[in-house]
């Protein structure tokens, strides 16, 4: 199956490339655009980008794997990042992750059986003062207790969070 993108994403890509003096500088913007459409960046997608930017695929993969916000595997409907860096870890992020997985009937890094969520650890989400924190897609949930987690999981299961 050939790699295909929507016209909208293609248009975005065409728009960002000329913004930079060197084509390859558009790499991260393009990756975001594709991830937005497809949910993740497959090797195929990376090779396609490499060709567009006239660089080796290895250069693309170095970038994709370096930043935790790029993903190489498909995820559930909601992508949940549990911070595990110092402040959050001290305030119980490992417990939070366990509980969240239990409530969603899944394991870290996997798509839950109902397809609604993927839970993963992340490094510092820059909200250490309100540790522990969790990010659901683009929204931050702070100062979490176990009860908050149970409630958050319920809202995800019952699709109260869009």
């Amino acid at each position: 199956m050939a790699f295909e993108l929507s016209q909208e994403t293609l248009d975005t890509i065409d728009k960002v490339i000329p913004r930079y003096p060197q084509r390859q500088s558009a790499l991260m913007m393009i990756l975001h655009a594709i991830q937005k459409e497809q949910g993740y960046l497959s090797l195929e997608a990376q090779e396609w980008v490499a060709e567009r930017l006239e660089i080796a695929p290895i250069k693309v993969r170095e970038v994709v794997t370096f930043y935790p916000f790029y993903r190489e595997k498909p995820v559930g409907k909601h992508y949940i990042r549990v911070c595990r860096t110092l402040s959050c870890a001290l305030n119980g992020s490992y417990k939070i992750c366990d509980r969240l997985c239990q409530e969603l009937d899944t394991k870290p890094g996997e798509i839950s059986p109902d397809g609604k969520a993927t839970v993963e650890f992340a490094e510092c989400l820059a909200s250490c003062g309100t540790a522990p924190v969790v990010m659901v897609d683009d929204d931050m949930y702070e100062n979490l207790t176990e009860d908050d987690i149970v409630e958050l999981a319920r809202r995800i299961r019952e699709e109260e969070i869009k």
């Binding site: 090797l43 990376q46 080796a56 695929p57 290895i58 250069k59 693309v60 993969r61 170095e62 794997t65 370096f66 930043y67 935790p68 490094e123």
Partner: protein, 902 residues
């Protein structure tokens, strides 16, 4: 020189170095990971921490990374400082949090820099209670294993592979403690220098895959200094063996040649000696039918009677055989009836090259000289495929401008990242002239892709521009002239210009053109100009100095009945002459005697066959393309029936009653005879100490002091430990007995020093870290340079090709064009099938597309292969890879006119 105070003692130190280098050069032990003498410093691992004090009154000082601080006069540091010591130990501790604790099953175990550094820092107990991170490994091809769990993120691998060797397919992925070094997808690591990762990586991530196939610990192998015989560069190697077979090749540091690195052909070509079809018993055609294996004495006796009954004897040696073996054959057959086994045309080109090397100002350039050149003109060579180590040196030469630029900003050259960042990818001028695309094109300022004659013309034009100092271009210039002027201008502007040429295109005119450029530069006041030459095979130059006859004249002697018995050693004539010629020769011969270490098309026709020892199983000398005579020694005493060619020929002399005893009972005797017969080769005796050399009356051991001792492997034959074989040829023992002191560089068989079990013990074998071998780099240069011999040439005129004719030119493959390494399974796996290279335009004209099949007629021979489009090749040229094993036609007299068959 600067004065350096380390822990209260005073040392002399070179101010162009950093503190780590100075401490190591002073013989002190200071641990490190990311710094590498050839790759410089990046300060990434924090392992080399020391305390530095401002002056004698400063009692506090501060912790600094020794590899990132330049030596300054009067600097004071402490390695023993408790805080620095603890710092270094905690660096290892945190690296160990993710490192598996299973050295006993790791290939690196026992020669691991991480083990050594761990012991050196004193870290010995762990407090980390969590899960270690784990990775999936990748398949990386036939040369290297990959075990990513062992990685300590020193970044040496990518710095060597990409920054130093110009590779493109090894990357650093992810971040935090998930950093992963590998390819973007599983697959063969493409660079022809990938094998160096096994030595560059301080842990067991990258290890030698061929060694794994027959693994042995470093301390259980017997090793000897050897020379790579897979091209003319003559890189120094350590060949290691166990139980009668070579197990691996390691780099042996030679300050002026290979430095720290080998190419993969040289590292993995050794398995031609382990080839399953290797002929390892003497054979007679007469006993073949009966199926009986004749005794060695029987075969020798038969050869004796062949020679005694012969009407005339001729001998053919080989440019891949040692000097001694060639000389022995010459002594047997006489000067008139001896050839080194190359065709007249090749011989003439080689003669031109040797003349050019003799004439070269300051003598031929060494690999090190190449590395230090700041403008290069490569004329008619494709070093990436014909002399890979030179290509690696050329990749460093283009960095000279940035190193100088950095020096002007007071950034020392060891400060690797800073030098590279400042350069922003700027490269010095490398101009190359070769008919097809090369891997050096990506770093070349210009690539001239034309026919051999046009290349010679360009060379002469450059020489003329330099002579006339007419480097300013005018609009009336032809494209060739414009290019010539640009090249001339770059060479004239350089501090150390270099011209590289060689025999690859079989063109005397190209070599004469290179000479002309060099002498024009010298005349123009560039006294620093150097010339580097590349020859076809490991001992092309050495064999040439014996002044044999051309191969054709030996053929003529047989055809006209003057000779009817022929001895051929280490030479497959089907690779040297047209098939029909060899067939006719064999028909006419009454007896053919073949000596070789690999199966070849010729061995099948032999009336008598003697199995030769490989380079790792024998002693002898080779002369490399720099005119340096070098000695190689046995890494193992070979099986009963294997001998060096020169030894076999000595035994034959006895059989045909020319001599009562073997005239060459040992290496020193044949060296002495050769020196007396060929005064020019007299110096070769000095290339390494003779067999009588001793240190305090003791020989040099081939086994390291950590040798395990006896095993039960031979217990079914005898429970007594067999006596180690005697070595009459070298000052080395086949055991761990002998002197514990460091031998002269030419006799170094392994790198080890207390506390340093990995190859990095090499630090202790150099005058200073990264500097000359202790006691001077081994070998002896035979050409001092400046000897004028050959009249100046001029470009020859091209016989114009008719429109339907193509000019076929020889192309080379690093894995595939060398006969010996083709018999090594791993190298064989990397060689590509025969394909014709041509430009899209030519293909178009012939109605062909990439991947189509094409048949060509060249002279009498017809050849069919697929078409591969070459983006830079000029029209009417067609490139044919030479030397490949799997082709029906193993010899083509290229360049030649080729006709397309319908």
């Amino acid at each position: 020189m600067a004065t350096l105070h380390i822990d209260g003692k005073t040392y002399e130190a070179d101010p162009s170095k950093n503190l780590l280098e100075a401490a190591l050069s002073a013989g002190l032990d200071l641990p490190y990971f990311c710094w590498h003498p050839a790759l410089g410093s990046v300060g990434a691992c924090r392992q080399c921490a020391v305390r530095q004090y401002r002056d004698e009154n400063d009692k506090n000082g501060q912790i600094v990374m020794a590899c990132m601080v330049p030596v300054t006069d009067g600097a004071r540091i402490s390695i023993a400082d408790p805080e620095a010591t603890e710092f270094r130990s905690s660096v290892v501790e945190w690296l160990m949090t993710n490192h598996p604790h299973d050295c006993p099953v790791c290939d690196e175990g026992g020669e691991c820099h991480l083990q050594d550094m761990t012991v050196m820092t004193g870290h010995c107990s762990r407090s980390f209670r969590f899960k270690k991170r784990t990775f999936e490994n990748q398949y990386l091809g036939p040369f290297l294993n990959h075990e990513m769990n062992r990685c300590i993120q020193c970044y040496r691998c990518v710095r060597f592979y990409n920054d130093y060797a110009g590779g493109h397919d090894l990357g650093a992925f992810a971040s935090h403690n998930h950093v992963y070094f590998g390819r973007h997808e599983e697959g063969v690591l493409e660079s022809e220098f990938s094998g160096n990762l096994a030595e560059v990586c301080p842990t067991g991530v990258f290890t030698d895959k061929t060694l794994k196939g027959h693994y042995s610990r470093k301390w259980d192998m017997q090793s000897a200094p050897s020379i790579c015989n897979h091209c003319s560069v003559g890189c120094n190697t350590i060949a290691s063996s166990r139980y009668g077979a070579v197990r691996r090749i390691l780099n042996r540091y030679h300050h002026d040649i290979n430095g720290y690195f080998l190419c993969d052909r040289g590292r993995y070509g050794y398995e031609h000696g382990n080839h399953p079809d290797r002929p390892s018993r003497p054979r007679l055609r007469s006993t073949k039918q009966s199926g009986l294996e004749p005794e060695t004495t029987e075969v020798l006796a038969a050869i004796g009677s062949f020679l005694n009954e012969a009407r005339g004897i001729a001998a053919i040696g080989s440019p891949r055989a040692s000097l001694e073996s060639n000389y022995a054959l010459q002594a047997l057959a006489g000067r008139e009836a001896f050839s080194i086994g190359i065709a007249e045309a090749s011989s003439a080109v080689l003669d031109a090259l040797v003349a050019a090397l003799r004439e070269a100002p300051g003598g031929p350039a060494s690999v090190r000289d190449i590395e230090h050149s700041d403008a290069v003109f490569v004329l008619g060579e494709d070093p990436s495929n014909t002399a890979p180590r030179i290509a690696l040196a050329l990749r460093q030469s283009v960095r000279q401008v940035s190193i100088k630029h950095a020096a002007a900003h007071r950034i020392p050259r060891w400060h690797d990242r800073a030098v590279r960042d400042l350069a922003q990818g700027r490269k010095g001028p490398l101009h190359s002239a070769w008919p097809a695309q090369t891997r050096l094109d990506e770093i070349s300022k210009s690539a001239f892709c034309e026919s051999p004659n046009a290349i010679a013309k360009l060379g002469f034009a450059v020489a003329q521009c330099i002579g006339e100092d007419s480097s300013s271009s005018s609009s009336a210039d032809s494209p060739l002239q414009k290019q010539a002027k640009a090249i001339a201008a770059d060479l004239l502007e350089a501090e150390q210009p270099l011209v590289v040429t060689g025999t690859a295109l079989e063109s005397e005119a190209i070599i004469d053109a290179a000479r002309a450029v060099v002498s024009a530069l010298a005349k123009a006041g560039k006294s620093t100009v150097r010339l580097a030459g590349i020859a076809a095979e490991a001992n092309s130059i050495g064999a040439h100095l014996l002044q044999g006859q051309a191969l054709e004249s030996i053929v003529a002697k047989v055809m006209n009945g003057e000779c009817d018995t022929l001895i051929v050693a280490e030479n497959d004539l089907y690779r040297r002459l047209p098939h029909a010629t060899v067939d006719a020769l064999l028909d006419k011969l009454s007896k053919l005697i073949v000596i070789d270490c690999i199966p070849s098309s010729l061995t099948r026709h032999a009336d008598a066959f003697l199995p030769a020892a490989t380079i790792a199983e024998s002693d002898g000398s080779l002369i490399n393309c720099e005119g340096r005579g070098q000695r190689f020694f046995q890494a193992l005493s070979p099986k009963e029936n294997l001998h060096a060619t020169w030894d076999w020929v000595g035994r034959i002399q006895v059989e045909c009653q020319r001599s009562d005893t073997n005239p060459w009972p040992d290496l020193d005797t044949i060296l002495a005879k050769m020196a007396a017969d060929c005064p020019e080769l007299a110096g070769i005796r000095e290339a390494a100490p003779g067999a009588g050399f001793r240190i305090h009356n003791q020989k040099i051991p081939r086994s390291p002091r950590r040798f395990s001792g006896r095993t039960s492997i031979l217990a079914h034959e005898s429970v007594h430990e067999p006596k180690p074989p005697e070595d009459k040829d070298a000052a080395m023992s086949f055991s761990m007995e002998g002197s514990a002191l460091q031998p002269p560089a030419a006799l170094v068989s392994h790198y080890w020093s207390p506390g340093w079990n990995s190859a990095q013990a090499l630090n202790k074998f150099q005058e200073e870290v990264g500097g000359p071998n202790r006691g001077g780099p081994p070998g002896l240069r035979l050409f001092p340079g400046g000897q004028n011999g050959r009249p100046h040439g001029s470009p020859s005129t091209e016989s114009a090709a008719t429109p339907d004719q193509l000019l076929a030119i020889p192309l080379y493959q690093v894995f595939g064009s060398d006969e010996l390494s083709n018999h090594s399974a791993a190298v064989r796996e990397r060689s590509e099938p025969l394909a014709f290279s041509l430009s899209a335009k030519t293909a178009d004209r012939l109605g062909l597309a990439d991947g189509d099949s094409l048949s060509l007629r060249i002279g009498e021979q017809k050849l069919t292969a697929t078409v591969r489009l070459d983006p830079v090749m000029s029209e009417n040229l067609i490139g044919i890879p030479v030397g490949l094993s799997d082709t029906p036609v193993t010899y083509l007299p290229l360049p030649a006119q080729a006709n397309v068959c319908e």
